[in-house]
């Protein structure tokens, strides 16, 4: 009985804090994405010849995120049946976008306005071990230049 109460408390804590923080985070992501819109992202290795580019330095952005108890619980149920792990999707979406924003901020500090050859790396910190907090690192990097078009 006490286990069940403890579980309910953990689930509601996870749900309410998780939802609140996620909403807040998305708000901030959308705001900063607008602010940093002028910094352009390219996945090509080479700078198109028509651009006049100068400078060039590596810029990085990385984020470590952890799942909340509620999301983890729902994913645990989902794993028994299979299907989209929806609760993880929003978490990773936030992590990737936040990492890109941090990389863009890095580029802005370096007075660059375009980033080429962007690559993402992901590392699971918990490695799926039982009873540990599921957390993941998203790392994004690229070459920033100042270019005029």
């Amino acid at each position: 009985m006490y286990d069940l109460i403890l579980l309910l408390v953990l689930l509601s804590l996870g749900y309410f804090f998780g939802t609140y923080l996620e909403k807040k985070h998305y708000k901030s992501i959308l705001k900063r994405e607008k602010e940093l819109k002028s910094i352009l992202l390219f996945d090509t290795k080479l700078i198109p010849p028509e651009l006049q580019a100068s400078g060039g330095q590596m810029v990085v952005g990385h984020v470590v995120v952890s799942i909340d108890y509620f999301k983890r619980f729902v994913a645990g149920l989902r794993k028994l049946l299979g299907g989209r792990l929806k609760t993880y999707e929003s978490l990773l979406d936030r992590a990737r976008r936040e990492a890109v924003l941090r990389m863009k901020a890095h580029a802005q500090e370096s007075d660059a306005n375009m980033i080429f050859n962007i690559k993402f790396e992901t590392a699971s910190i918990s490695k799926g071990a039982r009873d540990t907090i599921g957390s993941v690192e998203v790392y994004v990097y690229g070459s920033a230049v100042k270019a005029t078009q």
């Binding site: 286990d3 069940l4 579980l7 749900y15 939802t19 959308l30 994405e33 819109k37 352009l40 992202l41 390219f42 198109p48 028509e50 651009l51 509620f70 999301k71 983890r72 619980f73 729902v74 994913a75 645990g76 149920l77 989902r78 794993k79 028994l80 049946l81 989209r84 929806k86 609760t87 999707e89 929003s90 979406d93 375009m114 799926g128 039982r130 078009q149």
Partner: protein, 279 residues
């Protein structure tokens, strides 16, 4: 040519569905599936476990030291009573009842694998007559006759396997919660059904040996007193008397047996034999 990064529409990578919807759908759906699995498995295991020859069951527990009989005057007396009752209980061929006596104050008696029945001093002390003792004895023998110990073990092993599968597959507390709740729902009734079945078989034996079922009435009167006393003393019944843990409610048990006996025209009251038991 002018380069730009277009704004990506929101909601492509993230589902707009409310997370509580998925949560409740999954929880209820899985709970139903697992409860059904527990019930199906437990009934089929119960069916097949009964087919295990009794001699296998005996062999399985033969190396357990705690099941060696410690002979004493009390043990011999209990064994004689068990033999008298089992002669009237139509036991399957080769099924042997072995009675053990313990000097412990625990108020309990139980039957286990291999036809072994345990009696505690604590319970016998509280009984008013040999008839009441015979009712307990016949009840425990009935458990063995119906193969309840081996069925319970079969179910236990199966449920543990199912539990480790579900917990492993889910890899989180979610699986554990599901399996625990389903097992409680699925197995509680099983234990109570076994008790009722044994009560009925026992009352048959009691009537066959003594010509009345007064012993059953006396036994349940004792149980009622014990449980009332415990309530008055503000103790939880279950903690003080193990016997109440897994059994249906005392009043219901006697009412059921009284009706059952009346339908068959048995004597509810009659001469009882004094309990000649020295500790």
């Amino acid at each position: 040519m002018r380069f730009e990064n277009p704004e990506i529409e929101d909601g492509i990578n993230v589902s707009k569905e409310h997370p509580l919807k998925e949560f409740s759908q999954l929880l209820i759906g899985l709970l139903v599936i697992i409860v059904v699995a527990v019930l199906v498995l437990s009934y089929s295991v119960g069916y097949f476990a009964q087919k295990i020859p009794f001699s296998y069951e005996e062999k399985l527990v033969s190396h357990i030291d705690a099941l060696n009989v410690e002979e004493s005057a009390q043990q011999k007396k209990l064994q004689a009573l068990a033999d008298r009752l089992s002669a009237k209980m139509d036991l399957p061929e080769g099924m042997k009842i072995t009675v053990h006596y313990s000097n412990d104050a625990t108020v309990n008696a139980f039957a286990t694998m291999g036809g072994h029945v345990f009696f505690f001093k604590g319970l016998i002390e509280k009984l008013p007559s040999e008839n009441a003792l015979a009712m307990v004895m016949a009840h425990e023998i009935a458990h063995i006759k119906h193969r309840h110990p081996v069925v319970a073990m079969g179910k236990g092993v199966t449920m543990l396997t199912l539990a480790s599968f579900v917990t492993g597959a889910s890899g989180s507390g979610a699986g554990e919660l599901l399996i625990n709740e389903s097992m409680t729902l699925g197995l509680m009734k099983f234990s109570r059904d076994q008790e009722s079945q044994s009560d009925l078989t026992a009352v048959h034996a009691l009537n066959a040996v003594y010509g009345n079922v007064q012993g059953a009435k006396e036994l349940f009167d004792v149980f009622s007193e014990l449980s009332d006393g415990a309530k008055k003393a503000n103790k939880t019944t279950a903690n003080e008397y193990e016997i109440f843990l897994s059994h249906p409610r005392t009043e219901n048990r006697w009412e059921k047996l009284r009706d059952y006996s009346q339908q068959r025209g048995w004597n509810l009251k009659g001469e009882t034999t004094a309990l000649d038991f020295r500790f």
